[in-house]
């Protein structure tokens, strides 16, 4: 019965979404208060009904209701409860329901917490959210119904892809979707503003918290995905420039640009049509990220099952959403009035540098991701451009970005004195150059890359600390006053400092783990020892074990350092039973400063096993840094001005005047 309830709830939600796209839009055009506020009610209703559908699907998974086709294909009664729940979104149909649930949640949030937004704009935003919701609910109902029954009912399910039976991957999609879908709100704000034909400083202020929230979740989602790839794929790396990784990274890059251009729009009433374009592009790339993976266009290690019908439906939605938005932009944006003037050397100028570099970086990633597709589309074959392309194009863009990130907070708005700012940073410049020089001196391999990376990291962290110290007048004023100043500092300033320093932490981790990684591949027999970065790893042997729904060959390695035993590590090769799919479980010993990472390979010769040992210095800092970035976003989100600081819109005659371009 629960499947029918779920199906019905989805249909109701689609009908409500239709109303939500029509009534508030008409209300805003006619300045009809009741019609406009109906939008909020409908958005809440859509959220309630999508929740019911999601709950019904979850129930079917939890109770292993094998009369539902989706449960049969993706679940198994022997699966632990946690993975029966996360199995709900471990498949195409269920993940679409989760996507719509989060979309409906954001739409409802605009209705619940958007009190400080002008009613006309809010009504249009809710209507645009309704349209997106309608498109995707229709997609689910017409091509991907998760509630299809199967008759006769099979005795058991086929089991969830074992690679998804992992806590890291279980929570990766929801976080990623919070990010992707969060950018639907900034997109809706952009469309609403274009429809109104008016963008002012208030627009920037309203958009920013939504961009911040979406960006924070996307950061965390990407980090979780990369952490999962690190410990689960067993390749010793954390980022592979895989099309799916790139798909989540592109909206992050453009979203970061949006986050910064929205500040300029808010504070200086400039970069407005650019911010609108970024808001459109960020969500467009989010849609591309979610759906290109499922359309059969992209193929990758973690692609969902594809189906050409769905592919065309998805492409049609993408074409209408993105094409429509960009057409509206081409039509209305030229009429938007530019705001405050500024010199190239100013905080605005530095933020434009950020925007350009982030956007160009996203374009290079887009090109590198699509190029193999273009080659394939021409019938030439499946090729890879791989890390050499991305390292050669992406890294040179990030270096000036981080330099600009360090100095930008020291530049005042409108017009700045670069020499003066550098003068305040002269000590840091010296420390940065010194750190890079030490790296060159100590390390002959990869010395340029290592020096650049470490230099940039020192610069980013140092500049953040100095900026904070300057704000609170540390050591210049009595300590008590510094504390008072720190307490009175706006939360957004704290958030920025934290996030910028976190970028330095991430750069440290990426540089150190890429440049100073040690990898040893060898065949080991029980009793053999290997030396890795000062550790002695002794192989004790392999045993076969059966745990829950998988069989495993479990290796035992004892790790010691100068004769002192430190740990026993047990990497595994698993075979999940229903499908007999093999997976690799690396064993990792972390000190927070470095990881010792062991992968058990296939048997080799008599009693021997291929073993891969890695020492990855500072690799945990990549994820620590990402979590700090997330926290930075969250701290900034709690800034007072997002709650009460609703600025008055620029005064205008209140007569009903259709916005003409």
């Amino acid at each position: 019965m629960s499947a029918e309830i779920g199906h019905f709830a989805l249909i109701v939600a689609a009908v409500l979404a239709l109303g939500q796209s029509v009534f508030p839009m008409a209300g805003a055009a006619r300045r009809h208060g009741a019609l406009m506020s109906l939008g909020g009610t409908l958005a809440t209703g859509q959220f309630v009904f999508v929740s019911i559908a999601f709950g019904a699907l979850t129930w079917a998974f939890v109770t292993s209701d094998f009369s539902v086709a989706n449960v049969v294909q993706n679940s198994h009664s022997a699966k632990p409860l946690l993975y029966r729940i996360t199995g709900v979104w471990g498949n195409h149909e269920g993940s679409m329901v989760l996507w719509c649930l989060i979309l409906a949640l954001f739409g409802a949030c605009v209705a619940w917490f958007g009190d400080n937004v002008a009613p006309g704009l809010r009504a249009r935003v809710i209507a645009v959210q309704g349209m997106i919701g309608l498109a995707f609910l229709a997609f689910i109902l017409l091509t991907s119904n998760p509630f299809d029954r199967v008759n006769p009912m099979p005795a058991d399910g086929r089991g969830l892809n074992p690679i998804l039976q992992d806590p890291g991957l279980a929570f990766h999609p929801p976080l990623l979707y919070l990010g992707y879908v969060g950018f639907s709100v900034t997109f809706a704000f952009a469309i609403a503003a274009l429809l109104e034909g008016r963008v002012d400083a208030a627009w920037g202020r309203w958009v920013r918290p939504w961009a911040l929230a979406a960006w924070s979740f996307l950061t965390l989602g990407i980090a979780l995905g990369s952490w999962w790839a690190y410990y689960e794929l067993g390749w010793g790396g954390f980022w592979f420039w895989d099309p799916v990784e790139n798909a989540s990274f592109m909206p992050w890059l453009v979203g970061t640009a949006l986050l910064h251009s929205a500040i300029v729009a808010e504070k200086r009433d400039a970069l407005k049509s650019w911010s609108i374009l970024l808001a459109i592009l960020t969500f467009s790339l989010s849609l591309l990220g979610t759906f290109l993976v499922r359309s059969g266009v992209l193929t990758s290690v973690h692609t969902f099952a594809t189906d050409p019908e769905r592919g065309l439906f998805i492409l049609a939605i993408l074409a209408v959403t993105i094409g429509g938005a960009l057409a509206l932009y081409a039509w209305r944006a030229p009429a938007l009035k530019g705001g405050g003037l500024f010199r190239p050397i100013s905080r605005e100028g530095a933020l434009i540098v950020n925007n350009l570099l982030m956007t160009v970086a996203a374009l290079t990633v887009l090109f590198g991701t699509l190029y193999p597709l273009i080659v394939d589309a021409l019938g030439l074959g499946k090729i890879s451009v791989g890390p050499p392309y991305f390292n050669a194009t992406f890294v040179p863009l990030m270096a000036p970005l981080i330099l600009a990130m360090g100095i930008a907070p020291f530049l005042p708005w409108k017009r700045a004195d670069l020499a003066g700012a550098l003068d305040r940073l002269k000590l840091l410049v010296a420390v940065t150059v010194g750190a890079a020089a030490i790296v060159v001196f100590l390390e002959e391999r990869h010395s340029f890359a290592a020096a650049l990376g470490i230099g940039l990291a020192v610069w980013a962290i140092g500049a953040s600390v100095l900026e904070l110290a300057g704000r609170v007048r540390l050591f210049r004023a009595p300590f008590g006053e510094s504390l008072r100043r720190a307490a009175a500092m706006p939360r957004s300033a704290w958030g920025m400092t934290l996030a910028h320093a976190a970028a330095g932490v991430v750069v440290t981790g990426i540089t150190a783990s890429s440049v100073w990684q040690t990898e040893i591949v060898r065949v080991m027999k029980p009793g053999d020892r290997a030396e890795v970065a000062g550790y002695t790893v002794a192989f004790a042997g392999v045993q076969e074990v059966r745990v829950g729904n998988y069989l495993a060959r479990r290796g035992r390695f004892t790790v010691s350092e100068s004769g002192v035993a430190l740990a026993t590590l047990s990497p595994e090769k698993r075979v999940y039973l229903p499908q007999r799919t093999p997976t690799t479980e690396a064993a990792i010993r972390t000190t927070w400063f470095s990881d010792l990472y062991i992968v058990l390979g296939d048997p080799h010769g008599e009693g021997g096993h291929a073993v891969r040992l890695y020492h990855n210095p500072l690799v945990p800092w990549i994820w620590i840094g990402a979590v700090l970035m997330f926290l930075g976003g969250m701290v900034s989100l709690t800034d007072r001005r997002h709650r009460v600081g609703a600025p008055r819109r620029s005064v205008r005659p209140v007569q009903a005047r259709p916005a003409e371009a």
């Binding site: 492409l315 932009y329 019938g379 074959g381 090729i383």
Partner: protein, 184 residues
């Protein structure tokens, strides 16, 4: 103002091109249609690639284009970071066992350590391996990416080009018959 208008149209235009390409891609059904390479039946470009060395050891001697004369050669561009290369590795290994065919590899934009570990892990079927760390040889062969494979006849002319992995089917239906034809 018209030029400013055009600027605002640019994002839409770019998107239209991408969307058209994607629609074409889906419609095409991805039949691997063979576009003839400009290099077919031309002499292989002259080059000299140093051998793959790691930890002071020469894993394989390098590759000289002059060595192609007098025997049938399979020239395979590969890299450790390239997933499709792993897909074709069993077929490449099978090719190395084909009598009277020399299998040589060009290790494309790779680090010696990564390449050496990759070969140690998956097996090294190549008789010779030249390294092309900066991608200088690749453009001579009109490389789109890796993997790509060239069949070179006894007088040093390129007779066949395979873009993308040599699957079991490609091996059986395309590569092996072409080798047989050359042997006659």
């Amino acid at each position: 103002m018209p030029s400013r208008r055009l600027l605002y149209l640019a994002p839409l235009a770019v998107f239209a091109v991408i969307a058209a390409a994607a629609a074409f891609y889906l419609q095409s059904g991805r039949d691997p249609r063979l576009l003839p390479s400009a290099l077919i039946d031309k002499p292989a470009p002259a080059f000299s690639a140093p051998g793959l060395e790691y930890n002071g050891k020469t894993i394989r001697q390098g590759v000289e284009s002059t060595s192609f004369k007098g025997r049938i050669t399979i020239l395979n561009f590969f890299a450790s970071w390239c997933t499709p290369c792993l897909v074709e590795h069993p077929q490449i290994t099978a090719l190395s066992k084909t009598p009277s065919v020399a299998l040589v590899g060009i290790n494309y934009k790779d680090k010696p350590a990564d390449a050496a570990n990759w070969l140690a892990r998956h097996g090294n079927p190549y008789a010779r391996i030249g390294v092309d760390p900066a991608g200088e040889i690749a453009p001579e062969f009109g490389l789109y990416g890796v993997p790509e494979t060239f069949l070179i006849d006894r007088v040093g002319r390129i007779r066949l080009k395979q873009v993308g992995p040599i699957t079991a089917q490609v091996l059986k239906e395309k590569i092996l018959p072409a080798i047989e034809a050359l042997k006659k």
